[in-house]
Amino acid sequence: MSSVLYGVLLVPLITAGAVLMPASSRGVKVVNIIGSAVSSLLLGFIIYLINTSGYLRLGALYADHLSSLFLTVIAVLSFTASLFSASYMEKELITEKQDLKALKRYYFLFNIFCLTMISVLIVENLGLMWVAVEATTLASALLVAFYFNRAAIEAAWKYVMVCTVGICLALLGTILLYYAQLSAGLGGDALSWLVLKENGALLDERMIKLAFVFIIIGYGTKVGLAPMHTWLPDAHSQAPSPVSGLLSGALLSCAIYVIMRNIAIVKASAGFEFVQQLLMALGLFSILIAIPFLLVQHDVKRLLAYSSVEHMGIITFALGIGTPLSVYGALLHIFNHAIAKSALFYMAGVLTREYRTKQILRIKGLVKAKPALGAILLVLVLIITGSPPFGVFFSKFIITWAAFAAGFKLAGGVFLILVAAVFAGMLYYCCQMLFGQPAGSVQQVSIGKPAMAAMVLSVAIVAVTGLYVPDFFNNALRLAAAIVIGG
């Protein structure tokens, strides 16, 4: 059964090859949707297997409950992104004057990107995980630069440079971790996560501290923690919207996943307290840094990107608290944020295309131009800012509760205030876009059925997790949290 892990790597690869074949844009679309549907189903199957058998292991590949949560995210997001791309990219190619070749390139890279993200989640070795993470950067860099206009190139350049520098630091940290492993007399399986996790307590405290400074800052660059987040708004705003959704929802989650795997190793070590403090500080700082950009912002996609910075801050903060409850909240938050934020990016894609601008001030009167879309936008903004009865509220509440329960009362209070400030910014710009008189040329906003389906699906999922967490999901989250933090 474990060989299905190979399958899940093969399917995107095959799809990537297959999208180069058809001769019409329709064919490319269909092939891609079929491919991503198969991939998502396969992922679903893996998740099912993990839920029944605990974990899957095959050579260097390994998947447990922690992976399964993130695989769920990838499965949902890659599918919705494919759906959305289907109607979005077609129109986009017309407005951006690109040809079929570009479309093929897009889908090729898209699938490779998905492949790299999946591989991050199912490799067992921390070194290979690093390789996979770097691969995600490279695969997505060309997607960010897809339009090859000045802004896109600039964004991609910064994206690759900053992330690669960051990731080099992570490599440094990983090497130090390996050194710690060797010093603790745990040779043999170099950087094997399972080995390290079993023997986390043996690792040298000083070494752990040193290694984790680099690991957290390195992967933190990829997560988009302030002040290493600088690439994030650029890349997310310049990529085609489905890719922005994937970057924000899936890729950032993958990066967090890697940090979680690393944390799982040291939870028993003496250096863990420092790691926690570092995570909490970076988390709160990220929320804080995001606020000015959320309060004064002109570009709708950058707004969303900064909101991602904020949410990554929330998740990191929760990880820093380091109790089972807080990690549970963090995991749930990752799930909710991924789905809601990707839907928001899809929405932003529709808006920027229909209004032909990314300027928030020029996007007006959505409720008049397309009421259903306006309603979804409002709901999505309420979701992402953590208003009940949606999932994000629930996970934020759990995180806050965990913060208070763990005795971080002041940090919890600061957290609450920061989150409220974010709310003010997001809602303000949401109202700007929803109401008013649409500009003369834009009286009707059209949107394809698949795109609409992608957004409605996302909203539905987050709405459900807010009111009701199904038992199996609850258990899976608990087990995943136990993997990260024990207990």
Binding site: W157, K158, M161, V162, V165, G166, L169, K209, L210, F212, V213, F214, I216, I217, P227, M228, T230, W231, F274, L278, I289, I291, P292, F293, L295, V296, L325, Y328, V367, L382, S387, P388, P389, F393, F394, F397, I398, T400, W401, A403, F404, A405, G407, K409, G412, G413, L416, I417, V419, A420, F423, A424, L427, Y428, C431, L434, F435, Y468, V469, N474
Partner: protein, 672 residues
């Protein structure tokens, strides 16, 4: 037929109402009747539920199990039932009113409004009943979201959008404080259930922090000064039946929350808690009513008056805390009873007034009192309802406002025993005087509101052509008026309920506070002697009326001549009438230190100088808190944000420098 059934019935009815409104959205009149009918049904069930609780005792029913946070229960104790009663009574009458009122909104997103209306009522019922931190917060925020939906309903207007935005943001910030307060408690108690929070046993300073957090959080929702800013914006922006609910019921959810916190969760705290609340409360009273008096927008006037009344309610709560700190259950019970009684009263008369204002606005298409006038002849029934509401809110006997204000006065009078030495007397006297000032200002305010709106000649064409509103709107208003008078004449019914509620916290100790003798209501606090012979006084007033009529008939039957009002020989027109602005002028001048009025004279000379000049005179007052607190803070934040945006300067080198810098900092930190 028991409380649980009624409770669940109410929830289901409103859910169904909300869903049906969406499903039927193509047919406006169907939506109107069905959705508001369901809301009416649900509200009536809520009232019945409350009555069952008061007659058969409280119940507690588990609702559902919710993942990581545990079982959510609804606890219907007397306190919950009392607020449920308020939401039920006001909700049902507002629903009936809405059927008539909402015809205006046909072809104007009525279904959305009806959905939000049902959802809003549902959320309020949940807020008052759920007994679990997470569920309470969800209900609390959902209440905000639905009311946001209602406030922003006329989103074509910029002012409405701004109001809704400010409302949402302020409430959200307030909620953050409430969350913090709850979580500190919950952490200490180790549970999220309300039943367990009372075992939190916080240390002194922590308890004080929780108290302050709760006060800020709930104070924001209540519209207490200085966090009232959203209230005068949001209430006028909403459709009137919603304003009635928001002002009448929603802001009371804060009173409910504070009651739970202060009576159940926190236990007895130091006396300065009460002192702080009282000081903020009296500021809310005086400033609120001053701003109300200055206002010419009838709905804004009512909104500011809500700030004032929240102040009166909080005055009771604050005094209650002082007495609790001093270990005096009887006056404390009296204080809380006064606060709750005023909560109910304010709900009744403020919704009545908002409904009346809605009728006025619907027929005249303006909120500006300067464009109204003479409506008593065009809309006599609305006028009747409005005058009763005005009398009630000005606390004149024998209408309900007087009873609760009298109780509040009595509470303040007890302060001389609550606080030792001469300080108690002086404090009590000053608070009594300021509350009296508030009362007088409120009376002036409503003389203005009623007089300018309903009396004299119409000041505009719309007012000239106004007519009476539909009976569906009249009936709820008259029922509320009747309720005002009934509660005023027979306060015993309400006081019995309050006594039951008090017994939840003090057992039988407070059972003797209220005593009904032949003379009227006697208070037994064991300290002072207080009697309110409201029925006797009413009888005397009636006797006086009879005497007056007899006196007037004493002489020969005189003739009556109809002659125009004397205006120094000119034919009087509406433009010669005293204006709303003019009416409040003396107060504006006397309180200019607080109100800081500014006049702008705009003289525009016509191109043809023989036509003379047109003179425009504008007057506005400055809100101290806006000028000194909100604008500077807001601007400061935005300026700081603009400055900090330079962090993202576009320099790649700088970005990598950040990475390097944070690495160095973290390395130094790690080696510490």
């Amino acid at each position: 037929m028991n409380a649980a059934n009624m409770y669940l019935g109410a929830l289901v009815a409103m859910c169904v109402g909300a869903v049906l409104a969406v499903i039927l959205r193509k047919n406006d009149s169907l939506v109107n009747y069905v959705a508001h009918g369901m809301a009416l049904g649900g509200s009536i069930m809520a009232v019945l539920c409350a009555i069952f609780v008061f007659t058969q005792g409280g119940i507690s029913l588990p609702l559902f199990e919710w993942g990581q946070v545990g079982v959510v229960t609804a606890r219907l104790d007397f306190l919950a039932a009392f607020f449920l009663l308020i939401v039920g009574v006001i909700g049902s009458l507002a629903s009936v009113y809405a059927i008539g009122y909402c015809r205006e909104f046909y072809r104007h997103r009525l279904w959305l409004m009806a959905t939000c209306f049902n959802g809003f009522l549902l959320a309020m019922i949940l807020v008052f009943t759920v007994s679990h931190v997470a569920a309470f917060l969800v209900a609390w925020e959902v209440m905000t979201i639905f009311s946001f939906g209602l406030v922003i309903h006329k989103w074509e207007k910029v002012a409405v959008r701004r109001a809704a935005y400010i409302y949402m943001v302020m409430t959200h910030v307030g909620t953050a404080f409430i969350v913090a307060a709850f979580l500190i408690l919950a952490t200490s108690a180790g549970s999220l259930a309300f039943e367990d929070l009372r075992h939190a046993n916080l240390a002194g300073p922590t308890a004080s922090i929780v108290f302050l957090l709760a006060l800020i959080g709930f104070g924001t929702k209540a519209g207490m000064i200085p966090v009232h800013v959203w209230l005068p914006l949001a209430h006028p922006a909403a459709p009137s039946h919603v304003s009635a609910l928001m002002s009448g019921v929603m802001i009371k959810s804060a009173v409910y929350g504070l009651s739970r916190f202060l009576l159940e969760f926190l236990g007895t705290g130091p006396a300065w808690w009460g002192g702080l609340i009282m000081v903020l409360a009296i500021i809310s009273c005086v400033l609120g009513v001053l701003y109300a008096l200055m206002e010419n927008d009838i709905k804004k006037l009512l909104a500011y008056s809500s700030v004032e009344n929240v102040g009166i309610i909080f005055l009771g709560i604050g005094a209650g805390l002082v007495f609790m700190a001093k270990g005096m259950p009887l006056p404390a019970g009296l204080a809380w009873a006064a606060a709750w009684f005023h909560t109910l009263n304010h709900a009744v008369f403020k919704s009545l007034l908002f409904l009346g204002a809605g009728a006025i606005v619907q027929k005249n298409h303006t909120n500006d009192m300067e464009k109204l006038g003479g409506l008593i002849k065009k809309m006599p029934r609305t006028a009747l309802a409005f005058i009763i509401g005005s009398l009630a809110i000005s606390a004149f006997p024998p209408i309900n406002g007087f009873v609760s204000e009298w109780l509040t006065f009595q509470t303040l009078f007890q302060l001389s025993h609550g606080i030792a030495g001469i300080g108690g007397k002086v404090t009590g006297a000053v608070f009594i005087a300021l509350l009296g000032l508030t009362g007088a200002l409120a009376a002036a305010c409503f003389v203005k509101a009623f007089g300018i709106t309903f009396l004299a000649k119409p000041r505009s064409e719309q007012a000239e052509n106004a007519g009476e509103v539909s009976p569906l709107m009249i009936v709820p208003m008259l029922m509320l008026s009747a309720l005002c008078v009934a509660i005023g004449l027979w306060p015993q019914v309400v006081l019995n309920m309050l006594n039951a509620t008090l017994s939840q916290y003090w057992g039988t100790a407070t059972a003797v506070i209220f005593d009904y003798q032949q003379l009227g209501l006697v208070l037994n606090t064991g300290m002072t002697d207080s009697v309110m012979g409201i029925s006797t006084v009413t009888g005397m007033v009636l006797a006086g009326l009879i005497a007056a009529v007899l006196l007037a008939k004493l002489g020969a039957k005189p003739r009556e001549q109809v002659v125009e009002t004397w205006t120094c020989g000119i034919t009087p027109t509406a433009r010669m009438e005293y204006t709303a602005t003019g009416f409040s002028k003396p107060v504006r001048t006397a309180f200019s230190a607080i109100l800081r009025p500014q006049r702008h004279k705009v003289i525009s000379t016509n191109a043809n100088s023989y036509y003379g000049r047109s003179l425009e005179y504008r007057l506005n007052i400055n809100y101290v808190l806006h000028d000194k607190l909100y604008y500077p803070v807001n601007n400061g934040i935005l300026r700081a944000a603009k400055f900090l945006r330079r962090l993202q300067s576009g320099h790649l080198q700088l970005y990598i420098g950040y990475v390097l810098a944070v690495t160095v900092v973290a390395l130094i930190w790690s080696s510490r």
